[in-house]
């Protein structure tokens, strides 16, 4: 349960962790900026603002409980991300541009 996992961890006396995403201008994607600790959503937003949005140009902030992030496993790097260098047809460079086609 994501909500339960984001409850304060009293054992470590730490507030839950939140991932922070900032948007530099309208229409731009929200990009991962880092993380903050905070006891609840409103303070997570305020802490994110104070840590990541005070100096740079930011028009929008997202905070997401870190526990809500589904991550791939480092152990699966090989099967998950193998670049398949032995399969050159997967790379666009494999194809030759036909004559008469304008290259941009």
């Amino acid at each position: 349960m994501a909500a339960a996992a984001n409850e304060p961890d009293h054992a470590s006396d730490q507030w839950p962790l939140w991932e922070v995403f900032t948007q530099a201008k309208d229409g731009a994607p929200h990009e991962h900026a880092g993380s903050v600790h905070a006891p609840d959503p409103e303070l997570a937003l305020q802490n994110a603002r104070d840590v990541y949005a005070r100096r740079g140009q930011v028009v929008s902030l997202w905070v997401v409980p870190s526990s809500a992030i589904i991550a791939s496993s480092p152990g699966e790097q090989g099967p998950f991300f193998d670049p398949a260098d032995d399969k050159p047809y997967r790379h666009p460079q494999f194809y030759r541009t036909p004559r008469g086609v304008r290259v941009y």
Binding site: H37, P39, D40, E42, Q46, R49, D50, V51
Partner: protein
Amino acid sequence: MDVLFEYLLRLGDDRLVLGHRLSEWCGHGPVLEEDIALANVALDLIGQASRFLGLAGRVEGKGRDEDALAYFRDVIDYRNVKLVELPNGDFGRTIVRQFLFDAWSVLLLERLQQATHAELAGIAAKACKEARYHVRHSGEWVLRLGDGTEESHRRAQTALDELWPYTGEMLAADEVDRAAAGAVAPGVAALEPAWREVVSDVVRRATLTLPADGFMHSGGRQGRHTEHLGHLLDEMQILARSHPGATW
């Protein structure tokens, strides 16, 4: 006495002294994020003070800039309310003091944006944006401390009870305020109903009890301060006074 000069000193000194107090938390905040947040608010306040005092110096016309006013005046020349010079105490006390000030500062700066003095109105407009964030921050913390654990509630209530007698000074009109009202800026007395509404709403939601009005401290606006301001100024002014004109 130049009313505008006196009035600007008040605006500048409240923010300079509170900003310096808050800066004492730098490196000592309860958690890293809050440490940064308090330092940000401190910097905003010192920035506001710099602009208000800079303008005060130009209005005075005796060649004093904001640094001269900040570093080369003594306790008796400072015009801040006593509330802002009180020691930080625990985090709860710092937050309650901040909230009581922020709630008032937003209301004052909102009105000052309509000041007849264009430069003053411009400084107020910029400061008002910052103050709106400050009161959001301190207000949210009052809610969490008041409606938090038994200990946080007790500490917040103790702070509120101890600081309440220092709030009257923010809202008390004297001859400078009355002279400024209309000519320069809105009178502070007019802010009281709105300030009470904001404060009592947050205090109620924080499950705290608003103290009864009784004796209210005064004198800060006339330079009669608590014993704490002298120590604060000693620390704040030592560098500038030991090395006049020093630059980075």
